[in-house]
């Protein structure tokens, strides 16, 4: 079984580190990641909303970690496509959470859905869906 300590390391790729992404929890095929609010990530300076790109990065990273979990190994994947719908802006100053579920795996492709929210998981700020190409290459864990 993939341990959380390993998953957390994988979550610490250079760009995930720059955004201070944190792994909060993991289930059999799903994970919850947190993007702490940071003024440097603001995309709407008048309202102080986080940039859509930072939300997309959170979603993409959460997908990757959910796939490691569903695969039960650390084989790397490449994003084929990712679509994100922004339902409402994340209120300024709020951390954003991503709950990603890798709901189907084939030999070659992984399918993932993501729910993104701030305070209330039942009121998402965005949803995302992506498909990923699986590979045999090991992701560096150490």
């Amino acid at each position: 079984m993939v341990t959380n300590a390993h998953l957390e390391k994988i979550n610490q790729t250079p760009h995930a580190k720059k955004l201070n992404l944190e792994l909060l929890s993991s289930e059999r095929t799903s994970v919850i990641l947190k993007l702490p609010f940071n003024e440097e990530l603001i995309g709407d300076p008048v309202n102080g909303y986080i940039h859509g790109g930072a939300i997309t990065t959170l979603a993409d990273t959460a997908c990757g970690v959910a796939i490691f979990q569903a695969q039960n190994n650390y084989r790397a994947m490449a994003t084929l496509d990712l679509r994100i719908d922004h339902m409402q802006p994340a209120s300024s100053g709020s951390d954003v959470y991503a709950n990603a579920d890798c709901y189907h795996l084939t030999h070659t492709i992984a399918f993932v859905r993501v729910n993104l929210y701030t305070d209330d998981a039942s009121k998402p700020i965005a949803t995302a869906t992506g498909s990923f190409m699986r590979s045999n290459e090991e992701f560096p864990v150490n």
Partner: protein, 168 residues
């Protein structure tokens, strides 16, 4: 609410332009043909190290390589999410600079297809506006590295151009 005001105050100190609305600030930049000034207005663009240039009638955004852009240390390759954020921002800059808008564009949806891994080198992006309506703009966005004929990703996104108010 109070928290939001604190953030705005912090931003105002860093950029005197923020005292105006974003669109007024953009207009002032246009008057002095200072397209690079847009970066100072969007903290995300600034912290990702994004640069802009004007090529013909298009804004071309540049993302110089930094170690902190890596998402896959094995290859190594750029983080796909960052490439998406960079492209979304390229569309935003293009819309702000090339059109007279009444409201700041807000991304509604964004869909990206990855064609090649992003190598550890400079990335470029520009945007084609497929349709500019009164309420919504549809953009096609391309990102490439050394060879513009070999894009690393293509994306399309809708941006809201009107106020989010009840339909009358």
């Amino acid at each position: 609410m109070q928290q939001q005001q604190v953030h705005l105050c912090a931003l105002m100190k860093s950029s005197p332009l923020i005292n105006m609305t974003l669109l007024q600030s953009i207009q002032q930049l246009k008057d002095s043909n200072d397209y690079e000034g847009m970066i100072q207005l969007i903290p995300y663009a600034k912290s990702m190290g994004i640069e802009t240039s004007l090529v013909g009638d298009k804004i071309v955004s540049t993302l110089p390589f930094m170690e902190s852009n890596i998402g896959n240390p094995t290859l190594p390759a750029l983080h796909g999410g960052l490439v998406a954020g960079f492209m979304e921002n390229a569309a935003l800059f293009h819309l702000l600079w090339c059109f007279e808008l009444k409201k700041t564009p807000k991304v509604i949806d964004f869909s990206i297809d990855y064609l090649r891994p992003g190598l550890t080198e400079t990335t470029y992006s520009h945007c084609d506006v497929i349709r500019l309506g009164r309420r919504v703009a549809l953009c096609n966005i391309k990102a490439w590295q050394a060879d513009s004929e070999k894009p690393i990703a293509i994306a399309r996104g809708h941006f809201l151009l009107s106020a989010n108010e009840p339909i009358g």
